[in-house]
């Protein structure tokens, strides 16, 4: 039986392009917070890992924007 798949195709595209990026941002952020809470990290370690995390999140955020709006 032929089914209408327009909606499903768009949702699939959204999942492929956007949802994993959002998940990536959340996971990176959560991992950084957990590392800082449970592991004995020095202040400079926190700052450097924070900068790395910010860069990663910014990159993923840009990718998310590009997938959604461009």
């Amino acid at each position: 039986m032929t089914k209408l798949k327009i909606k499903e195709n768009i949702e699939e595209e959204e999942t492929k392009k956007v949802k994993y990026l959002i998940l990536g941002i959340v996971v990176i952020f959560a991992a950084w917070i957990l590392i800082n809470i449970f592991l004995p990290v020095t202040l400079s370690g926190k700052v450097i890992s924070g900068i790395v995390m910010l860069l990663l999140v910014l990159y993923l955020g840009f990718e998310w924007y590009r997938a959604y709006y461009l």
């Binding site: 039986m1 032929t2 209408l4 949702e11 392009k17």
Partner: protein, 212 residues
């Protein structure tokens, strides 16, 4: 609300819901006959439809006033939000080019102009929504509806059209997801379309009841 127009005007409206067509194009499209819509009766009916604003004339071509027809069809809906969502959905170029394109509608009526002339616009607009709703809630009823209404070719034509138009109609993924969100809002409206006096739907519901 019923749109009261003659047979030829109705055929002209159905064929031009998504794109403009001249009288000879309409004749070739429905009857494979160039002069069919130049007949006196056809011209009178089309003039009446033009007077009522159901059709719009662009130089030599005719185009259905889709926005007005959609608003007219859903005039009885009390829920303002649903009415707005429906109008927004049907006024979107992708919805029009995919579901209301003349080739798709011709498949819906199995290439029969008589069948098309006897159908209400309500049926034309509600069928894709009913299909989507049934597909998500009751697959058995969906297949019964498709078989009963001979909609296999219609669904195939919708897919071909969707693939053709999806890149042109949407600028980005956000617009696509907004369109889907709109469709979801309509479908989630507790099956209003399944109970909207659709004769085919009533028959299938009776069949299902008998089975149980």
């Amino acid at each position: 609300m019923i749109i009261e127009v003659g047979k030829y005007a109705k055929l002209a409206i159905l064929a031009s819901l998504a794109e403009s067509k001249s009288l000879s194009e309409l004749g070739i499209f429905w009857y494979n006959e160039n002069g069919r819509f130049y007949k006196k009766k056809a011209r009178e009916e089309i003039t009446q439809a033009l007077d009522k604003d159901f059709l719009i004339k662009n130089s030599t071509k005719l185009k259905a006033n889709t926005e007005k027809l959609v608003a007219f069809t859903y005039d009885k809906i009390k829920d303002k939000n649903l009415k707005e969502t429906l109008c927004k959905f049907w006024c979107h170029p992708f919805s029009q080019k995919t579901f209301l394109c003349c080739e798709v509608l011709k498949q819906m009526f199995s290439n029969s102009p008589e069948k098309a002339a006897n159908t209400s616009l309500n049926y034309v607009l509600n069928t894709p929504l009913i299909l989507q709703k049934l597909q998500e809630t009751d697959l058995e009823m969906y297949s019964l509806f498709v078989t009963n209404q001979e909609l296999e070719e219609y669904i195939r034509a919708i897919h071909i059209n969707a693939e053709k138009n999806i890149t042109k109609a949407f600028m980005n993924l956000k617009q696509k997801t907004d369109w889907v969100e709109n469709l979801n809002k309509i479908i989630k409206n507790n099956g209003r379309f399944l109970n909207s006096g659709n004769v085919a739907m009533m028959k299938i519901k009776q069949m299902m009841k008998k089975r149980k």
